[in-house]
Symmetry: C2
DNA sequence: ATTTGTGAAGTGTTTCACAGCA
DNA sequence: TGCTGTGAAACACTTCACAAAT
């Protein structure tokens, strides 16, 4: 996991960035946001590393893939580094998303405050069940699947979030891709196949619990797994 | 991510298993469950690999860390391999969990059918808010935080699930550990520190969306990320 | 013919260690 | 002194390629 994916190139012919480094970037940003709230102006690679259980060298290498942000003897400017990381991650501008599946998980995602804070906005909810159609949740009308195409186009939702059962996940995925989304976050316990230029991130909650069960079975001492 | 964690040892002095391999084990199991439902009796490493976007060599290496399950010329027996993987992952026996946080996410997790199917059972829900106390959700009474200790002991919940805001996550974590849970699944956007012999798996949904945004920004072709 | 299991080779990632700067 | 940025070394993971088994 984390894992078996091709490294990403920032631009054509720049050194490629290890996938694990990209994962850590998000965590650095999260810690920086906490630091700035705590009133800190600068932070060293050592301090940032300690907050996340990483070595200072790791932190410096990761950040150096994207530029030279630090000052020898001082460390990194918290605000500047946050801005840089947001730019690198592409979260400096907002992202519209549409959610498919208005079950328990879908509703929880819709209410999730963390998304808005990070610049993600769920603009529409769709569900296949006629029972739910035109019901309102969190101020959004539940749309029918027939409306998927126009929804994605009119609201310009570049991202789709799949919170439907595994059995319909691939179908929903195909329709989202056809409608023009560029990225899909998948919560169904199913590997999705996509044709073309669409990115996928999958989160299988049961798989995460299995990972935990394995670590506990092993009697692992303090297995700290940052995110994923 | 997948990622920056120490490899795990199955038993003392056996070859250590790469962390990425453990992540894939859960995915193999998921595919095997689908295969058996489809009536398949055997599967080759090549077929299993294709289902997950992995090479056949990768699949064989991963499985070989735990034993010799395959038959040359034939492949793997689907049912036998499922049994073996469940045993390796520790999910052949049930796992009791207690959930802290009865907000939107907590409720969604409680209703999540995928957990029960995999042998995980949420036995109790707790929440700090007096407003929710003694309310019932999904057949479970919402307990006060004062009841945490007795709940963990009496119901023998080896796992704790944290679905509270970041600000109280560390406190909840400490209390769960003190009460005796051996593993914690954390949904708060906060790195948890644990003392001693407790495993942690964290899932930060906003971080996952950031990963997706990054991949889309890069114009990645078909970035298939198995779980994570 | 097909497929496993596995050493060896290849590739990718992390850590080390130090020059250079504040 | 304290810290960054970075080549070089160490380590980890994946892929290759083939002997052995059916």
């Amino acid at each position: 996991m984390a894992d078996s994916e091709p490294p990403t190139r920032p631009h054509r012919d720049l050194p490629s960035i290890p996938a694990p480094a990209v994962k850590r970037l998000c965590l650095y940003l999260r810690e920086l946001e906490a630091l700035t709230e705590a009133g800190r102006n600068t932070v060293s690679s050592k301090q940032l590393g300690q907050l996340l259980g990483l070595t200072d060298a790791q932190v410096r290498k990761d950040l150096a893939y994207f530029g030279q942000f630090g000052q020898p003897g001082i460390g990194y400017d918290v605000n500047q580094l946050m801005t840089e990381l947001r730019r690198v991650l592409g979260t400096d501008k907002g992202w519209n998303a549409c959610l498919v599946g208005a079950g328990n998980l879908g509703r929880a995602l819709l209410a999730h405050a963390g998304f808005e804070r990070k610049g993600f906005r769920i603009m529409a909810v769709l569900d296949a069940s006629p029972r739910l159609q035109n019901e309102y949740i969190h101020g959004l009308r539940i749309r029918s699947m027939d409306e998927l195409d126009e929804t994605v186009r009119e609201l310009e939702t570049r991202l789709g979030i799949i919170a439907v059962p595994a059995s319909s996940a691939q179908d929903v995925c195909d329709r989202l891709v056809a409608a023009g989304v560029r990225g899909i976050m998948n919560f169904a316990p199913k590997r999705l196949q996509v044709s073309g230029d669409v990115s996928i991130v999958s989160v299988d909650l049961a798989v995460q619990l299995e990972q935990l069960a394995f670590q506990v079975s092993l009697g692992r001492r303090s297995g700290a797994t940052p995110s994923d």
